[in-house]
Amino acid sequence: MSVPAIRIQGLKKNFGASEIIRGVDLDIHRGERHAIIGPNGAGKSTLFHLISARLPITSGAIELKGENVVGLKPFEINRKGLSRSFQITNIFHNLSVFENLRCAVLWSLGYRYSFWHRLAGLKDARQRAEAVMDDIGLGKRRDTPAGILSYAEQRALEIGITIASGADVILLDEPTAGMSNTETEEAVALIRRVTEGKTLVMVEHDMGVVFGLADRISVLVYGQIIATDAPAAIRCNAAVQEAYLGTTLNHD
């Protein structure tokens, strides 16, 4: 198999005296949809923060497509083709939906810090932003300030911003949290659609979503991965059952 999209080795993270991530080893293959599940407080979001460099790691190694990314800044990792969403909606509140998305595509189209290009003249940026906007179903809200969108719309926009740059490794942090059933279904369809052909890593609590979407699942408990396998195998994994259901099942 080729170089994995993400390779994590011996990753540790301490907050003061408490160890939150206690030695994680994980390979995410290219093109797979990978879900990370685990009980509350297991360190799932922290793991995302470490991969995307929102938090500095304590020790270990992280490789993105074979390249060491430890010590890089978030924007540098982003430029290497990794994009993430947030559990708590993290969008540009005063900008319109369209502007939110256009901001997300500018760097990847190579406009960098240009103050000599005219935004209105950037056809490629406009088209890409509009395409994503239609993808996430916000075409009608084009000029609405993001801050006054409904919650589900903001979540969709969050995903939109994450995928807009065309990154091939996508990290989604609880994309369906707080959504109603119908909204969740729409969100799953959306995620499936927009991550076609990309590497997706997601943290999710809704098992329906996880088992519906993921090719492989990793279970994170108390800062360690206790199992990584296909959904069906994870369902029958004793250690996982123990972690989720307590000790009602027999070990042996």
Binding site: F75, N90, I91, F92, E99, S108, Y113, S114, L119
Partner: protein, 421 residues
């Protein structure tokens, strides 16, 4: 030029503003008014450049005068250095040199200041501003000490297209041209990737990092560019006043530009221009009428912060939105009804303030003193009681009628937003 900047409506607005600016001196011929207009033009550029930081990038700076002042000094020194070798044409281009000086200062100081955003940035700029201001008095060779550096903008005998820049009216024309060019450039900047990403950094720096942008770099570039335009404004002031003193780069100037931008409205591109007009007129005209102008000014500012944090521009924008939604008619009677009590309240308050000032700074002589063109006996209770009574009536009426207006206002606003969403 392009369709975005020059959509038909916008083109009309821009052109009519330019035409109005050029037409003003034809109507208002007094030298004082021309000087006032020059000052407004300069402050408009300066405060627009400031708003590139505060309004567009979310950077609250207390040291923006540094760029303005350095631009001014660079211009005046260059003017003197060129001396007889120049002509009106080179003189007209000198503000650009001021801009380059502002840009250079931005490169140097921006590196230190933009490492942080938010409150820390505010404090650092304050400290750096103080440092530069203090240094300016230590190097009289560069900053001219107390007397400042003066120059003469009329170079040689020849003219450029008939202009020598000597008369203030010609200088005004030059300022209008520069101000217009800078305004167009700064507006155009808001329509570029950097300008848009500055908004993004203002709204959510973390997210901006996760779409690939180095927020520090965005802030740095905005500081540098804003320093450039502030430097041009400084250069214009150097040409207009023909003297530059250390005062141009001290904390007071930085404070004024902040006030201007905020009062005008930092959320709108044109807000600072409104602020520049309003504040300059207040400063010079009201300053000429009463010595209490600083107090009025401070109170007005506090009022704006508490009641209309979006500035004058946001008030205008709301009225426009109401008008477009056909709701303005509902509010107009209430505005009219509130005007009278507010005027009564203002009259009472101003009366009290003016009486106090007259008592404290007046000639102290027995007999009547002149307060607000009235002859009043300050030592007797009558004028004081009258002012107090008027204030009291004003407060009561304002609360009563204002309360009803607020009720209607909230109802109208919810209708407005209801329509929208």
């Amino acid at each position: 030029m392009n369709a975005a900047i020059l959509s038909r409506g916008r083109l009309a607005v821009w052109c009519s503003c330019l035409a109005l600016a050029f037409a003003l001196p034809l109507v208002l011929k007094s030298g004082f008014v021309i000087s006032l207009l020059c000052q407004i033009g300069i402050m408009a550029v300066f405060s627009l450049s400031y708003n590139m930081l505060l309004g567009q990038t979310g950077l609250l700076s207390f040291g923006h005068a540094v760029y303005y002042g350095l631009g001014a000094f660079a211009t005046i020194h260059l003017l003197n250095a060129i001396g007889k070798g120049g002509g009106p044409f080179t003189t007209a281009l000198l503000p650009f040199a001021g801009g380059l000086a502002g840009l250079a200062a931005g490169l140097l100081l921006g590196y230190v200041t933009t490492r942080k955003a938010g409150t820390t940035f505010a404090m650092i700029t304050l400290g750096i501003g103080e440092m530069v201001a203090a240094c300016s008095l230590m190097f009289p060779g560069i900053f001219g000490g107390e007397g400042g550096v003066s120059g003469n903008r009329v170079v040689g005998k020849e003219t450029f297209l008939g202009f020598s820049w000597g008369p203030q009216v010609e200088m005004y024309g030059l300022i209008v041209l520069w101000a217009f060019a800078c305004t167009v450039a700064m507006f155009a900047l808001t329509q570029t990737p950097l300008g848009r990403m500055a908004n993004a950094v203002r709204d959510n720096p973390e997210r901006a990092e996760f779409v690939g942008y180095d927020t520090e770099r965005v802030r740095f570039l905005m500081v540098v560019l804003s320093g450039f335009f502030a430097g041009i404004a400084g250069g214009l002031s150097a040409l207009s006043y023909e003297i530059v003193t250390a005062e141009t780069l001290n904390a007071h100037t930085s404070g004024i530009v902040l006030l201007i931008a905020f009062v005008g409205g930092i959320g709108f591109f044109y807000g600072p221009i409104i602020g520049a007009i309003l504040v300059t007129v207040m400063q010079i005209v009201i300053g000429g009428m009463t010595h209490a102008w600083l107090l009025y000014f401070g109170l007005f500012f506090l009022f704006m912060v508490l009641m209309a944090p979006g500035g004058i521009a946001s008030l205008i924008a709301v009225q426009r939105a109401l008008w477009q939604a056909g709701l303005l008619g509902r509010m107009l009677p209430h505005y009219a009804a509130t005007t009278l009590p507010v005027l009564i309240l203002l009259a009472g308050l101003i009366g009290l303030v003016e009486l106090s000032y007259a008592l404290l700074t007046g000639d102290g002589s027995e007999g009547p003193s002149k307060v607000m063109s009235m002859q009043l006996e300050l030592k007797t209770p009558a004028p004081w009681l009258t002012a107090l009574a008027v204030t009291g009536i004003g407060i009561t009426l304002t609360r009563w009628i204002g309360g009803r207006m607020r009720h209607e206002w909230n109802a109208t606003l919810s209708t407005l937003h209801g329509d929208r969403s």
